[in-house]
């Protein structure tokens, strides 16, 4: 293993600690900026908002969402937090053995199919690529 790769892995581990062990972050927040491997400004184009629930703006033009300059910060590499690509599901009986009634979930129902996603689990994966009621969707946290 090259020195460069060891340094990279160590840095990644450190940043993961910052992200996933919040208590660890207290003393090091000030150093975080220098740890960030990069920070760049990106210009985001304004664009028409889609969706039937949204009304035209008062000037009669289609509504547009925010555009402008945003600061994009890189903390981790791509997929350092693993999104779920092949989700597996259980029924209520099995889920009851793993979840208490007060555990937070995201839930949705489409075309008669309902699915729930544990928020503590989403905290570790951020994104679930799924299909619900025939609709391909991404559950994000």
């Amino acid at each position: 293993m090259s020195i460069g790769r060891i340094v990279l892995l160590t840095t990644a581990g450190f940043v993961l600690l910052l992200v996933f062990v919040p208590g660890f972050r207290n003393g090091v927040t000030g150093r975080l900026t220098s740890l960030s491997s990069s920070s760049e400004t990106i210009t985001v184009p304004a664009s028409p908002i889609q969706g039937s629930r949204l009304q035209p703006s008062s000037d009669g033009n289609p509504p547009t969402s925010v555009g402008g300059n945003l600061k994009l910060i890189t903390l981790l590499g791509f997929d350092a937090i693993p999104a779920i690509l092949d989700p597996e599901f259980v029924d209520v009986g099995v889920a009851d053995t793993e979840m208490t009634p007060d555990e937070l979930v995201l839930g949705l129902s489409i075309n008669g199919e309902s699915k729930a996603y544990s928020i503590p689990m989403l905290s570790s994966h951020e994104i679930v690529n799924d299909v619900v009621g025939g609709v391909p969707l991404a559950v994000t946290w």
Partner: protein, 234 residues
């Protein structure tokens, strides 16, 4: 939640490891475009500027969700994830990983709000204020909105309260009763289930209110992204 169908093609998303104002930036495996969760659009790459279609979702407790949908499927935890890795973070005063963009002391940074965005008009409803006023008939921009909050499960639902072009005015029928809570509209006295916005009795029986675009967030993040936001104070 977002549709993964973009320009007629199915895409899959991964975590980019990047943040914009402390919020998730995704990328798609097909074009490597970066997507902002909060902006709901592509921000860099081939599909920059393209909007994601939002699919309404409920954040609630497992107990409430399974009552609502006894036939629900549940993402398999495989015996893991008993502790939320962000648990302490939810409780403390810190503003994300990189701090907040500006300070706004109308609310505690970590106060939970449900934010409504209607054609660029934004308004935040703090859980604290909704706890005292669980049914709010309001106007955001030119749209009539209804916010319903179930205090026992921390569930916030935002509806468009116009039916056939006419705004309705809702109130609680009796006391809140979890998923069985009923709302009544003053105009027709129809009875509506608060949790799914469907009229079960009266002139408007069978009608369902549309969900409005809303987003649960910490106050600091909501106002960073929407500096012009209104704030509901009860």
């Amino acid at each position: 939640m977002y549709s993964r169908t973009i320009n007629g093609k199915e895409h899959t998303f991964g975590v980019s490891g990047k943040l914009i104002m402390n919020a998730l930036v995704m990328y798609d495996h097909q074009t490597d475009t970066l997507w902002s969760q909060f902006l709901r659009k592509g921000v860099r790459g081939e599909l920059a500027g393209t909007e994601l279609e939002v699919i309404p979702v409920i954040q609630t407790t497992w107990g409430t969700w399974k009552e609502l949908h006894p036939d629900t499927l549940v993402l398999d935890k495989r015996g893991r994830y008993s502790r939320d890795s962000y648990r302490d973070y939810y409780q403390d005063g810190r503003a994300g990983v990189i701090g907040e963009t500006f300070s706004d002391d109308r609310l505690e940074r970590k106060a939970m709000v449900v934010g409504v965005d209607i054609a660029g008009n934004t308004k935040a409803y703090p859980f604290g204020a909704l706890s005292d006023n669980p049914v709010v008939n309001d106007t955001v921009g030119e749209s009539h909105t209804l916010v319903y909050f179930d205090d026992s499960s921390g569930t916030a639902l935002v509806y468009d309260r116009e039916v056939d072009g006419n705004p309705l005015t809702f109130r609680l029928e009796g006391e809140p009763n979890g998923i069985l809570t009923v709302l009544v509209d003053e105009e027709t006295s129809s009875r509506w289930m608060a949790f799914n916005g469907t009229a079960i009795e009266g002139e408007l029986k069978g009608q369902t209110l549309d969900r409005a675009l809303s987003h649960l967030s910490f106050w600091f993040a909501w106002k960073d992204w929407n500096p012009d936001t209104e704030l509901y104070s009860g």
